[in-house]
Amino acid sequence: MDIAPYALQLFSGLSRAMVLFLLSAGLSLIFGVMNILNFAHATLWLVSGYVTYSMFTFLSQQFGASPWMLLPSIVGAVALMSLLGFALERFLIRHTYARELPEQLLLTFALVLILGDAIKLIWGVENRRINLGVKPIEMMDTLVNPYQFVIIGAGVAVAVGLWYFLHRTRFGKIVRAAVFSRSMVSALGIPIPLIYSGVFALGVGLAAFAGGVFLPLLPMSLGVDHDIIVQCFAVVVIGGFGSMLGTFVASIIVGVVYSFSILFWPDGALAMIFLILIVVLIWRPWGLFGTELRY
């Protein structure tokens, strides 16, 4: 049996998985700490893709075109978007903590609509893309896109970085404590509102990072956020709300299953994601790595 096609499919599944993880990590973090399911997460991701595009274009015009201009562009986009995230939490999200779930969802959904039209106003309806001049490389008797290694690397780096942040830094430990007990954290004299603003900014920053990293792979276009946010929800729920490890594992499951479905049952590939989601929700509603306590 020739295993090369399967290995290749696994590789493309992993690449897809990291795409999903980069997108879902911030969503999962925000939900875990703040109990806010942010519908606008993918839209913020999309906005940051456009921002990165504009920065890349600007830098290329100023200092000459080079693929490396992507790096400062991503840094700039992450900084800008984190600020936006901070402001969104301060001025909008904060007012809904005491509200019921649907009102929180609705607020973030309103942001989806507003930001979507904002993109249309600022960048128009034409797709935005950049070209790094990436050339395919030969691997296992076939060709792959080397940028996929960048994506996988970025996904793993973010996973490791988040782990380090949550387990080894003071702020991270506080954030993790907030996942389990809000009252305890506030009893320690740590201002919860500041934690929330910080976490929201961090979550949006992660989305912004994902937006910048995907830009060379995916032309930014209006409306992709609507399709992808539902898949992100699926990943976060399967992994377990608030569990970064869960989000990581769920991304791999969803990415790889999707990839192999395309090989064996292409028509059902998307339905497979929702089947997994349904099975997990029925079997363990709190997700693979979530804790039952957070009902």
């Binding site: 309103a110 609509l113 929702f274 929700l281």
Partner: protein, 339 residues
Amino acid sequence: MKSAAPQRAANAPGRRFAVVLLALFLLVPLLPGEFWTVVGTEILILGLLAMSFNLLYGYMGQISFGHAAFFGLGAYATAMLFTALKSPDGSIGVPEFLLSLLVGPPVAAVGALIVGFFCVRLTGIYFAMLSLAFGELLFYIVFSWYSFTKGDDGIQGLLPPHYFQDPGNYYYLTLAIVVVALLVMWRITESPFGYIMRTLRDNQRRAAFLGINVRLHMLANFVIAGAFAGLAGALWGPFSRSVSPGLLGWQESGIAVFMTLIGGAGVFIGPIVGSVIYTMLQAVVKMYTVYWPLTIGTIILLIVLFVPGGVLGLVEKQIKARQGRLSDGGGARAGSDEE
């Protein structure tokens, strides 16, 4: 602080308001031009969908993001029977047409029974996610099962019998069906079952210790809500002359949620008032700008921030505040809710 405030028994202002609303609805076709009649039909059908959603949200306390799946199932069931019953010349008789409308609710109810069987095991965010997952799954089934559902093409040619092609006549048919459906819903919400739903909304554990089989009651309500959504779907196909898989998608469910929260989930007719506001705004705003999402997004933002409880919730609060001033009563303010 609550969007789902207590549903009071029909008080005099509420009843008066409902009568005025009905009278206004009866007069819509008298407006010049057929446009507002068509908008009115849309208000009624989507309002019925939102009302059925509110049976789950306002009365049972669970938010379903897959509710449009039953709207879509009803629409497809009707569309398929409609197509099968059409005579060779492409027309359909009135009895066949009405028969095809009737098939929507039971098919949707069966769908709701299957989906609900799993959903009622969960509450809160998990209920929302599972209903979303099932909704999307049903969407993909309809979308991908090309040989049976025609996939993304949808089904066209749902032209109702000659008499109902007139927008005014179709409007009155819709109004009659929706009013009857709303009366039935009203009876249900004011029945012992309806109040049991409110107990489940407020405190499921307590309800269980009263001897209430929580899941079974939730399932019953889920099926009822699904059937009404299916009825709305049945009316949609012949109104729009076609159906497409988008009717089952989560964005369609989102519209029902919008309407409910705009109008007010805590008041029986809140969702239909929300439908009036949403649909009319859409019709008017789209005449002037393509930035409809921006407009409605901003409105929703403002409502969530400043008018929690929706428009009718605000009105109700005002009335209560006035009554409170008159009687100088009001219970003691007490601590937080448990659960």
